[in-house]
Subunit: 124 residues, 2 copies
């Protein structure tokens, strides 16, 4: 196996200093409806998305889960990213996840709202 770059797209600016936020994983297209549903179907991932909307669409990874190991969380982040639901971006040195609400809404209009709404209502 040839050595793979750690972050396929994300590029950390070595520029020291001021809080820099940059785009990441911009090339990843939103997946088809089946993959979207498969991504949102898992309780852990649905909770992650729920917390993301609660946080205004963006949050640090560690704030998006409880009760599971870091490696498991990273696994779920990857699935959400590959489905085009979230993207990874680096804010001020730490990695954040951002909900790609607009992109998903364009690929599947109303889907995210319906899912979030139902999940929210279900959690009282």
């Amino acid at each position: 196996m040839t050595v793979k770059p750690l972050f396929e797209v994300t590029r950390m600016t070595p520029e020291h200093g001021q809080p820099v936020a940059q785009e990441a994983d911009v090339a990843v297209p939103v997946a088809g409806i089946q993959q979207l549903l498969a991504a949102l179907q898992d309780p852990v991932r649905l909770e992650m998305v729920r917390r993301l909307v609660g946080a205004g669409g963006e949050a640090q990874c560690k704030n998006l889960y409880d009760g599971i190991g870091k490696s498991t969380a990273a696994h779920h982040f990857k699935i959400l990213r590959e489905a085009g639901i979230t993207e990874r971006l680096t804010v001020d040195g730490t990695i954040h996840q951002r909900l790609r609400s607009d992109d998903v809404a364009q690929a599947a209009p109303g889907l995210l709202d319906a899912v979030i709404g139902a999940a929210q209502r279900q959690a009282e």
Copy 2:
């Protein structure tokens, strides 16, 4: 193992004669959002639902799938039924599946429309 009734809820009217359609599985509540997504996530089941809407919300089982065995299809029907997405009813002697659009819309407003819409658009 004690003998179980073949159809838990459905009751075939032995009344000979005229086309009779009757309610079935009315007691099954629509499941939570995760179970709904899990049910719709499978390609085979999504296609079944797609064909159901194409058929006006109701169709004979055999018209809802291709390329899989009857037992596999029955398995998928069961999952859709247990999620509250479809119900089984007997029309004129043969079993039909009916989309519980209204019930699902009440449990998860907009979900079914979004999923169907995306699936339809994706299939051109």
